[in-house]
C-alpha cells in the first residue's frame, strides 16, 4: 500500500469511525432513557419519531441553539478548554480499537481498525487516564463549590480505581503475551473441549479479573453506583454545574463515548472480540464478526443502564474503602495466581 492510498484509506476510516461513534453515543443516550424509563414503569421518550427514535437529533439541535452562558466568575481559558479536553480524549481511544478482521476491496486488504499498534492497550489506558483532566479542570475552573467538590471527587476516584483497572488487565496480557488488541483477540479463537469458546473469561481464572475490570470501569466512567462526582442530591450536578448548551453536551458525549470504549475493551479482552459463528454468503461472512462485536458492546451498555436503574449510589468513604481495601488486594491476588499458572504451564 503506497502513501497516498494509506492516507486516503486512513482518513475515510477515521471519518467513518467518528461518525459511527458519535451516532452510537447519541443513541446510547436514547437507549438509556428508554430502558431506565421501562425499569421505572414509564415510557421514556415517545413523542419525536417512532419510539422516540429522533429524540437524540432533537436534543442535538436544542443543544446547538441554546444560549451558551458563561458565568462571570469562572477562569475562562480552562473553563472553555475543559469540555474539549474531556471529549477529545474520550473519542481518541477509538483509533486503536479493532472491530473485526480485514476486508478485501479489489487487491486492497483493509484491516477494520484505524491503526494497529503493538501497544494498543497501553494507548487506551493512557488516553483514558488523561481524560480525568477534563473533569478535574471543569470542576476547578467553574469557581463554584459544588463544581470543585465534584472535580476533587472525580480525580481522587479515578486515580484510585485506575490501579485496580490496570492490574485486572495484566492477567490477560500475561496469558496472551502481547499489548496489541488484534493479537489478544486472535489468541481467543477456538474452543476448549470442542464447545466452550476459548475466551479469556473462561481461561486461567480471568473470571475474577473480568468483574474487577467491570467494577473499576464503572468508577472510571463516573456511572452509578460510583457517580459521586455528579451526585445530584448532594452537588447539584457536580463538575458540570456551571455548564450549559454545547459545552454541557460535550461532557455527556465524553461520558457515553467512554462507556462505549470500556464496553469495547471488555469485549476484546475478555469475551473474544468479534469471534462468533460465521456462515452464509461472502458479504454476510464479512459482516457477521462486526455484528457479534457490536452485539457484545450493546450487551455491556445494557448492563450499564440496568445497573443504573437498580443500584443506589455509594457513600464516598465506602467508595474509597471498597476501591483500596477490597478491589486492589483482589486484583493483586488474581495477578499473582495468574502469574503462577502461566509460569507452571511454561
Amino acid at each position: 500500500m503506497n502513501l497516498t492510498t494509506f492516507i486516503v484509506v486512513s482518513v475515510i476510516k477515521t471519518v467513518l469511525a467518528l461518525f459511527v461513534l458519535l451516532t452510537a453515543v447519541a443513541y446510547t443516550v436514547w437507549l438509556e432513557r428508554k430502558v431506565v424509563g421501562h425499569i421505572q414503569n414509564r415510557w421514556g421518550p415517545t413523542r419525536v419519531g417512532p419510539f422516540g427514535l429522533l429524540q437524540p437529533l432533537a436534543d442535538g439541535v436544542k443543544f446547538l441553539f441554546k444560549e451558551d452562558l458563561t458565568p462571570p466568575h469562572v477562569y475562562k481559558p480552562l473553563y472553555i478548554a475543559a469540555p474539549m479536553i474531556a471529549v477529545v480524549f474520550a473519542l481518541t481511544s477509538i483509533a486503536v480499537i479493532p472491530i473485526g478482521n480485514s476486508v478485501t476491496i479489489g487487491n486492497l486488504v483493509i484491516p477494520l481498525q484505524i491503526t494497529d499498534v503493538n501497544i494498543g492497550l497501553l494507548i487506551i489506558l493512557g488516553v483514558t487516564s488523561l481524560g480525568v483532566y477534563g473533569v478535574a479542570l471543569a470542576g476547578w475552573s467553574s469557581n463554584s463549590k459544588y463544581s470543585l467538590l465534584g472535580g476533587l471527587r472525580a480525580s481522587a476516584q479515578m486515580i484510585s480505581y485506575e490501579i485496580s483497572l490496570g492490574l485486572s488487565l495484566v492477567g490477560v496480557l500475561m496469558l496472551t503475551g502481547s499489548f496489541s488488541l488484534r493479537d489478544i483477540v486472535n489468541a481467543q479463537s477456538g474452543t476448549f473441549w470442542g464447545f466452550i469458546p476459548r475466551w479469556n473469561i473462561f481461561h486461567g481464572g480471568q473470571f475474577i479479573a473480568f468483574f474487577i475490570y467491570l467494577t473499576a470501569a464503572y468508577a472510571e466512567t463516573n456511572r452509578i453506583p460510583f457517580d459521586l462526582p455528579e451526585a445530584e442530591t448532594e452537588l447539584v450536578a457536580g463538575y458540570h454545574t456551571e455548564y450549559s448548551a454545547m459545552k454541557f453536551a460535550m461532557f455527556f458525549m465524553a461520558e457515553y463515548a467512554n462507556m462505549i470504549t470500556v464496553a469495547a475493551v471488555a469485549s476484546l479482552l475478555f469475551l473474544g472480540g468479534w469471534h462468533g459463528p460465521v456462515f452464509g454468503p461472502p458479504l454476510m461472512r464479512a459482516l457477521l464478526p462486526v455484528f457479534w462485536f457490536v452485539l457484545r458492546i450493546f450487551g455491556f451498555l445494557f448492563v450499564y443502564i440496568w445497573v443504573r436503574g437498580t443500584l443506589p449510589r455509594f457513600r464516598y468513604d465506602q467508595l474509597m474503602a471498597f476501591g483500596w481495601k477490597f478491589l486492589l488486594p483482589l486484583a493483586m491476588a488474581n495477578l499473582v495466581i495468574t502469574a503462577l499458572v502461566v509460569a507452571l504451564r511454561a
Binding site: 494507548i123 489506558l125 487516564s129 480525568v132 479542570l137 490496570g166
Partner: protein
C-alpha cells in the same frame, strides 16, 4: 524527513512548555504546562522507537502523577503567586550558570558521540525487551528501587496518620 520535522516540532513544544511552566503565575497553569512537557517527551520517545516508554510516560507521569499535582493545587485552592523582583543572586549567577551548564552538557554529548546518528526505531524498545532487561540484567537495581519506593510509601503513611487524632476519635 517527516520524522525530523515532527521531532523538532515536539522538541520546541517541550521547551516552550518548560519555559511557560516557569513564567506562569498561577500554579494550575504551571502544572498543566508540565503536562504538556510530559506529553511532548512521550512523543519524542515514540519517534525514537521506544513506544513502551512513551506509553508509560503518559500513563504514569501525565495521567497519574500530574493529576495528583492538579488535585493538590485544587484542594489547597492555591491562588496566583505575587511577582517579586526575585533575588539578585539568582539573576547574577543562576542564568549564566544555567547557560554554561547546558552548553557543557551539549558539548559533552557531541564530543562523546561524535556525528553518530541513530535512525528512528533502531533501538530496542518493545515491552518484551524492556521486561527482559529489567528482570535479568538490572534485577538488583530494579528491586532496590522498588524497596526505596516502598519505604517512601510507608513514610507517607506514617506522616499522614495522626496518632493524637485517633485518640480524639475514640473519645468523641
Amino acid at each position: 524527513m517527516t520524522h525530523l520535522i515532527i521531532f523538532l516540532l515536539f522538541g520546541a513544544l517541550c521547551v516552550a512548555g518548560a519555559v511557560n511552566l516557569l513564567v506562569q503565575r498561577h500554579p494550575i497553569n504551571s502544572a498543566l504546562s508540565l503536562v504538556v512537557v510530559m506529553g511532548s517527551l512521550a512523543v519524542e520517545y515514540l519517534l525514537l522507537g521506544a513506544e513502551f516508554v512513551a506509553a508509560v510516560q503518559v500513563i504514569v507521569y501525565a495521567g497519574a502523577i500530574m493529576v495528583l499535582f492538579v488535585f493538590v493545587i485544587m484542594l489547597l485552592n492555591a491562588g496566583e503567586e505575587e511577582r517579586t523582583k526575585g533575588s539578585r543572586v539568582a539573576m547574577l549567577f543562576g542564568i549564566p550558570g544555567m547557560l554554561v551548564g547546558s552548553v557543557l552538557v551539549g558539548w559533552l554529548l557531541i564530543e562523546r558521540t561524535g556525528n553518530q546518528t541513530v535512525s528512528a526505531g533502531a533501538l530496542p524498545g518493545a515491552p518484551r525487551t524492556i521486561g527482559w532487561l529489567l528482570f535479568h540484567n538490572f534485577l538488583l537495581p530494579f528491586e532496590v528501587t522498588s524497596i526505596l519506593v516502598l519505604i517512601a510509601i510507608m513514610g507517607a503513611v506514617v506522616l499522614a496518620s495522626h496518632p493524637d487524632s485517633d485518640q480524639g476519635k475514640k473519645e468523641s
